[in-house]
């Protein structure tokens, strides 16, 4: 049981915090097309099922905070939610997406099971309240500039309002300009008040803005950091996967190809019982 007596139940039989079945939240960064979403989601669902892991599909309908002003943002709210609804129905898995304004919360909640609060917006009170009012699970990305205690305070703020379906997500900490580092102490600190904690393996290796108007990243680090996070102990693993990362319209430097995603799923399955705290 998590803080404020949340049992971790998401939807469709998926329950975060199951010590015998780690939850994997994964999919393409941007929902570039329904076809891409279904292809990636089908692959991940199969691999997670084979590895006895729980699976939640993840993708964004709108990349609202790109580094540059003239890069693609995604299908938009209406079309994106249509795609997510189709993916949910076809794959029969819960879906997660991120929201950027209170207005988007209500609409996204008609389709999605988890509403994710982006890292930059992790303390935006009205966005959090709008998300909570939907009754869906909220996943809060800890800001790169935010201390672990501050994001726990955000979770407690929601608990204080009577809302308990909260997941905290570590996605790296600013380490000088255009660089991030993973402070694994945060996985412990964020767990202090017994909230669910997820590790975002792919955003944690970003080099924000370091790619001449786009973010680049250190994809080769992801497997090792994931092993470390599982060893420390997490309730879930978040990672972005694309059938051809080099051609992805966003986060091309950090999204995982199928082969590496499979490797990580295999490792997660093998070691979750040994290392889960």
């Amino acid at each position: 049981m998590f803080a404020a007596n949340w049992d971790g139940n998401i939807a469709l039989g998926v329950s975060i915090g199951n010590k015998n079945k780690l939850t994997v939240m994964s999919g393409p960064c941007m929902l570039e097309s329904l076809e891409l979403g279904l292809k990636v989601g089908t692959f991940l669902k199969e691999k997670c099922a084979a590895a006895n892991l729980q699976y939640i599909f993840k993708s964004s309908f709108d990349k609202a905070n790109r580094t540059s002003h003239n890069t693609a943002r995604g299908p938009g709210l209406e079309k994106g939610l249509e795609h997510l609804a189709e993916i949910r129905k076809t794959l029969n898995v819960p879906v997660l997406t991120d929201i950027h304004t209170p207005h988007q919360a209500k609409k996204a909640a008609t389709v999605c099971d988890i509403l994710q609060i982006p890292a930059f917006l992790c303390e935006q009170r009205e966005l959090l309240i709008a998300a909570a009012e939907t009754g869906k699970t909220i996943q809060i990305k800890k800001g790169q500039h935010t201390g672990p205690e501050d994001v726990v305070k955000v979770a407690e703020f929601l608990n204080h309002l009577g809302y308990n379906k909260v997941i905290l997500c570590e996605r790296g900490t600013t380490f000088g300009y255009n660089n991030l580092v993973v402070d694994f102490r945060n996985l412990i600190e964020m767990k202090k008040k017994n909230h669910a904690v997820v590790f975002d393996a792919t955003h944690a290796v970003q080099l924000p803005g370091a790619g001449a108007g786009v973010s680049s990243g250190l994809r080769h680090m992801i497997p090792a950091l994931t092993r470390a996070a599982i060893a420390v102990g997490i309730d879930g693993l978040f990672m972005e996967v694309h059938e051809n990362p080099d051609k992805a319209l966003s986060d091309a430097a950090t999204q995982l190809p199928f082969s590496t995603a499979e490797e990580i799923i295999s490792f997660a399955s093998k070691y979750q019982k040994n290392c889960y705290s």
């Binding site: 905070n65 580094t67 930059f120 703020f157 300009y177």
Partner: protein, 207 residues
């Protein structure tokens, strides 16, 4: 020039008030919807002189733009495309704060989203650990190259963190003269403060 982030009324008589309803921070247990809050509260703001409003959503920009002279976009929002686009379509002067996590070059990349507006760039410091922000002179140098006026958010630089292991010496008002001198020497033309700054220091800014 002095901008003062206020909730109700300004403390410093010569400041330009920027009404900050705190809707973008989990610092209170208020759960009122911010668009309604702003729409209600904006009627109570003093209209005796030009004022600004902290905005965090396009809807808030719509509420504020016909009444306020300034729109203040906090650092966490400085890359939110829809907020910037809404601000661009106003006639207000935009105070765009650099996020503490953001390189100065990335802030400059956001400027085309505000094309056509008068922009005042605000540096609120650079993240240096969970308990600290530092004023990086290189950032101010780069902001100057944009051709826009710029200033510093002095209160953000001095804001005490809740991080349990924060060293006690780093947030000290004794550093205010050094911060202000640095900013002024590099070409800053305004300050952003809240009520916690001793007025004695602010008199030095105008000298």
């Amino acid at each position: 020039m002095l901008f003062e982030l206020v909730n109700q009324s300004e403390k410093y008589s010569h400041s330009i008030p920027i009404y900050n309803l705190g809707q973008w921070q989990v610092k209170s247990n208020s759960c009122s919807a911010s668009v309604d809050l702003l729409a209600t509260q904006i009627k109570t703001f003093s209209k005796s002189k030009p004022f600004g409003v902290v905005v965090t959503t396009p809807e808030e920009v719509m509420v504020a733009k016909s009444i306020a002279s300034y729109l203040y976009i906090p650092g966490e929002m400085c890359r939110q495309a829809d907020v910037l686009t809404a601000a661009k379509n106003s006639s207000c002067t935009i105070l765009l704060e650099r996020g503490a996590f953001l390189s100065p070059q990335d802030l400059l990349l956001a400027l085309p989203k505000l094309e056509g507006r008068e922009i005042l760039l605000v540096d609120a410091g650079t993240f240096m650990g969970y308990s600290d922000r530092v004023l990086d002179p290189r950032v101010l140098s780069l902001l100057k190259t944009s051709g826009h006026k710029f200033g510093i958010n002095l209160s953000a630089l001095l804001n005490k963190s809740s991080y349990e292991h924060a060293p006690s010496w780093i947030k000290n008002d004794d550093f205010i003269p050094a911060l202000m001198s640095t900013a002024k020497a590099l070409g800053a033309t305004f300050l952003v403060v809240d009520e916690n700054i001793n007025e004695v220091h602010l008199k030095n800014w105008n000298q």
